[in-house]
């Protein structure tokens, strides 16, 4: 589903990724692990097609769903609208918004704008949006940042369930998260 072969990328002459090859499985959880500034988010942006590589081959054969590092919720839309926005069918969108908000323990926050939500709640709305989009590949950039342990574990359980028939790629700094998810690891 994802081919990432001999990829290089630099910004303003500074090399961020050099001749990098990553082998992704068809399904399961892959964690991209490494310190800040080694190009984890750049890899996501390359896979998502938001930036072009300087060199190498990137091919993604399926649509992707994504949890961005900074949530990227539309500020003038409610939490529910932010989720239903990404689903083509309006009715299905509304149904899925309710379903995934429930799954993310966000009941009662449907009609709240992002500015009225806490950091953790915004994160959960972003995760719910990515889940509701329901594609075979899901990229999650530090998805559990700012979540309380109990909630984090609850969401990680859901991610494990989703990974039964999806490829989920997660960027993380936390070794404990990798252990909990029993994920394949790409070290950077």
């Amino acid at each position: 589903m994802i081919t990432f072969k001999s990829v290089s990328k630099s910004f303003d002459g500074e090399i961020v990724i050099s001749n990098k090859t990553i082998e992704f499985p068809e399904k399961g959880i892959v964690c991209i692990f490494g310190p800040s500034g080694v190009g984890k988010t750049t890899i996501f942006n390359l896979i998502a097609g938001l930036i072009e590589p300087d060199d190498g081959e990137i091919e993604v054969t399926e649509d992707i769903s994504m949890v961005f590092q900074e949530d990227r919720l539309v500020p003038w839309l409610t939490a529910g609208e932010n989720i239903s926005l990404v689903i083509e069918d309006k009715e299905l969108g509304q149904r899925n918004a309710i379903k995934y908000m429930k799954a993310m323990q966000l009941v009662g926050a449907e009609s709240k704008r992002p500015s009225e939500l806490s950091g953790g709640m915004k994160r959960r709305v972003a995760i719910a949006r990515a889940m509701a989009y329901d594609k075979r590949i899901m990229l999650m950039d530090e998805p559990f940042k700012g979540l309380e342990v109990e909630l984090k574990n609850f969401i990680m359980d859901q991610v494990i369930k989703l990974a039964e028939d999806k490829l989920i790629v997660i960027v993380t700094h936390e070794k404990a998260e990798i252990d909990y998810l029993m994920a394949e690891v790409v070290w950077l």
């Binding site: 998502a48 097609g49 938001l50 649509d63 992707i64 769903s65 994504m66 961005f68 900074e70 990227r72 539309v74 003038w76 839309l77 609208e81 926005l85 990404v86 083509e88 949006r129 989009y133």
Partner: protein
């Protein structure tokens, strides 16, 4: 033990405050009138409002308002449409931005009277006020909407690309709400400009049955109270128009499903 003292300041009722301010200014106007004591130079607020009341029973009054309003409205709406289209294409195609920028800068820098005199040569007098209103508001709308498009959050646009949102949805959910505050500002400033420039065009162009023509006639016959009365009418119309326009835009965008309620 700490003691906190909270001072609660009572906020004045908005309507009462606004009315109070208007009354104070009317009082200042009356004071100046008494001090000057020459009806030819300045009329009293009472005389002006009595004159407006008298004029409101004449056909000329309503006909002039109607004709001036329609022409200025046409000019304004055309400026909003053309300005928005120009903003969209010049933010997308840099070459067109370079091409149109000098023209719009020239329009901004040229005195409105120069355009009115040129328009007198080019156009029939009844078209001048619409043309001038259009010309004065166009650069404002173009600049503001361009700014709004440029300031649309690139991260949200990237998000819509990843989730493969259709263009119409990106437009409704991201672009229009982002540009809206800039567009509304252009409208608010533009409405005042359109009225000022439009009426000036009517005065210089001597357009028949218009507010401008009535102002011109009042000046010729030294009817100071009429000059004040028509000027107050223009101010009231401009303010009402501004309010009505904002409401209309809000209604229109809600009707087409733009998720936006800043107005």
């Amino acid at each position: 033990m700490k003691t906190f003292i909270t001072r609660v300041e009572s906020k004045p009722n908005k309507f009462v405050a606004k009315t109070g301010v208007i009354l104070v200014w009317l009082l200042i106007w009356q004071l100046v009138y008494v001090l000057v004591d020459q009806e030819l130079l300045i009329s009293s607020p009472l005389n002006v409002f009595v004159r407006i009341f008298e004029l409101s029973f004449t056909t000329v009054f309503w006909k002039s308002i109607g004709i001036s309003f329609v022409r200025i409205f046409v000019g304004l709406v055309l400026a909003l449409i053309v300005g928005t289209i120009l903003a969209i294409i010049t933010t997308k195609i840099k070459l067109l931005d370079y091409f149109f920028k000098p023209m719009l800068n020239v329009i901004k820098a040229t005195p409105v009277a120069s355009f009115i005199i040129l328009a007198l040569i080019w156009l029939k007098s009844y078209r001048i006020s619409a043309f001038i209103a259009f010309l004065m508001v166009l650069p404002m709308v173009w600049a503001n909407v361009s700014e709004g498009i440029k300031n649309t959050d690139i991260k949200l646009i990237e998000m819509t690309k990843v989730f493969k949102l259709p263009r119409s949805r990106v437009l409704k959910a991201v672009y229009i709400p982002s540009v809206m505050p800039y567009f509304v500002t252009a409208c608010n400033v533009g409405i005042g400009f359109a009225w000022k420039a439009g009426i000036a065009a009517e005065i210089i162009g001597l357009s028949k049955d218009t507010i401008g023509r009535n102002l011109y006639d009042a000046k010729i016959y030294l009817e100071t109270v009429d000059i004040f009365a028509w000027t107050v009418v223009v101010i009231i119309l401009s303010l009402l128009f501004e309010k009505g326009f904002a409401k209309a835009i809000n209604f229109l965008f809600k009707k087409v499903g733009v998720m936006y309620d800043y107005l």
